[in-house]
């Protein structure tokens, strides 16, 4: 069972980092396209709590939470999105490509649906090498329309690979309701491939963690693919700067009621965690983010000569 306090801390870190990112973006310190997962933190925190160091994760364009939940360096993260040479990717990738291969974080991905077959390949590698590792593919409810999702689930099912597909169902695909784009009901769809699907409250980190732990445990013992559908909310625009004219303002109010962090906090308090502990956690998250930003700010800008010679392995490598 995932420790609720750890889940709380992970979510706090994601939230702090992303809200800071929003400010940095607004201030022009972060360029490019930035897709925040504010409101969806419980999914990243819960799923990644079920994983070990041998497991891997392929993420999406909305991938900060997954990366942070996998334990990437916050400084490396901020340095990356702030385009510094100390960034996880040397400033070459940015928000849509945050990756930490050492931590089994196979990258955010700018191509909707593209992470799924990559995770499939990671699961294939785990199985072929005889490990008990699993691979997770996060995907959005809109991404389900891509052909890659079907090819991936089919191959995972045929080969019984330890692939955990996690749908972050936030109801939106960019500026459209995903139900105007995707006819397939995820549960029925995965059942058609003989794959088990569970739906969880994606705003409840412990529920997500429990579902993921259950799936991963089965997979470590040889079970094939599983699908988790986590219903959650995208609090902000599709990307930073999105005026969200397509959105009913009432939705915001409804979303706030499902804040995964507030809920986690309340549950912890109910369970007797001292308020001070939570406040410490909050302060620590804030500090960690502030420290990381300060370090990233002080770092040198991305280095063109390094980039130029970084396309292929050095000769003789």
């Amino acid at each position: 069972m995932a420790d609720p306090l750890i889940l709380f801390r992970t979510m706090l870190t994601i939230r702090e980092a992303e809200l800071a990112l929003a400010r940095l973006f607004a201030d022009g310190e972060v360029p490019g396209f930035i897709h925040l997962s504010v409101g969806q933190e419980a999914v990243a925190a819960g799923v990644c709590a079920a994983l070990g160091p041998q497991d891997s994760v392929a993420s999406t364009h909305r991938g900060h939470g997954h990366a942070i939940a996998r334990g990437i360096s916050l400084e490396g993260f901020f340095a990356e999105v702030m385009a510094k040479s100390t960034g996880l990717c040397g400033g070459r990738g940015g928000s849509m490509h945050v990756a930490d291969l050492q931590r089994g974080m196979l990258g955010a991905n700018g191509i909707v649906g593209a992470g799924a077959p990559i995770a499939l390949g990671a699961a294939l590698a785990q199985r072929t090498r005889g490990t008990d590792g699993v691979a997770v593919a996060f995907f959005g409810d809109g991404a389900l329309a891509e052909g890659a999702m079907h090819e991936t689930l089919n191959m995972a099912a045929i080969w019984r690979l330890p692939l955990l597909m996690v749908c972050e169902n936030n109801g939106w695909a960019e500026f459209s309701r995903s139900d105007t784009q995707v006819a397939a009901k995820l549960g029925a769809w995965t059942a058609a491939y003989g794959v088990r699907h569970v739906e969880v409250d994606g705003n409840d980190a412990s529920a997500v963690a429990a579902a993921a732990e259950d799936a991963v445990a089965a997979q470590r013992h040889g079970e094939g693919p599983r699908v988790i559908e986590a219903r959650t909310h995208r609090w902000r625009g599709h990307f930073e700067g999105d005026p969200q004219r397509y959105r009913d303002p009432e939705e915001a109010a409804r979303m706030a009621e499902h804040d995964p962090i507030a809920r986690s906090r309340a549950t912890l308090l109910d369970a007797g965690t001292p308020a001070a502990t939570l406040e410490v956690a909050e302060a620590e998250a804030r500090d960690a983010v502030a420290t990381a930003i300060a370090a990233a700010r002080a770092a040198p800008p991305a280095d063109w000569m390094a980039a130029l010679s970084g396309v292929y392995a050095p000769a003789g490598a």
Binding site: A83, G110, I111, A143, E146, S176, Y246, W304, G310, V311
Partner: protein
Amino acid sequence: MAELRMVQAVNRALTESMTEDDTVILLGEDIGAAGGPFGATRGLQEKFGPDRVRDTPISEAGIIGAAVGAALSGLKPVAEIMFMDFITLAMDALVNQAAKARFMFGGQRGVPMVLRTPHGGGLSAGPQHSQCLEAWLCHIPGLKVVCPATPADAHALLRAAIADPDPVVMVENKALYAMKGEVDDAPAPLQIGRARVARPGRDATIVAYGAAVHWATEAATALARDSIEAEVIDLRSLQPWDEATVLESLARTHHLVIAQEAVEAFGVGAEIAARMADIGFDELDGPILRVGAPFTPVPFAKELESAYRPDAARIAAAVRRTLD
């Protein structure tokens, strides 16, 4: 005469074509209610309804495949792929179906569809949202490829593309969407395949397309300060491209530089250079130089991206080098 941004010129061309011809339909992700990620289709769904301006799922292969089927069935679909990087998902429909249908069905019918897609960097959009992949399409018999550098040409080329009986890809440089320019109220129709002399000159020829036309013009202005008069040719159409205009210019200037935003190696400029090293060989008084992006993915960081992207200085230097 109106002053329009390039994205508005695209919008106007779509509006006009859809008004004149009710077989023209639009397909793409968030092009309808949302008006398109760059606003190119703004207001069109209100005007023409959701059947003619159709918001699609995130299914690039399916979108282009459906456009092929619709085009074979009496419609003129204009599909949008949100970033040119995503055509990687739709190459079968484009290359194996749309491009070949007329030929492989023995001329029974063509595929009168248009694909609009933005390319290019400058937005820190990173390696998967910035590529210029037009050279791929130019290599495919059956496709036509155009790339406007001005609002007027965006309008005219799109009108021509929609009127064309064969599949045409219009590549739109996203850094130019906001660029303003005059668009005639009733411009003369433009023929695909005709280049434009963007700036006349006698000392060297710079061939460019898309955003590089502006860098080339800027380079020519700088060179003029040293009394080097470079002619800038805006190709506008990459497949077919206007060999005659380039050759004619080369025959006057005897020096050739080709500029593009795309990766230099195996890019569009290679074909222009190769062709001129054949049919224009006797005119050449210096090496043919190309200016394009280096052989790396498009980097995210602003500093990296500006080191990466070609510019006027590099073009001017190339002109000087070939004149040397």
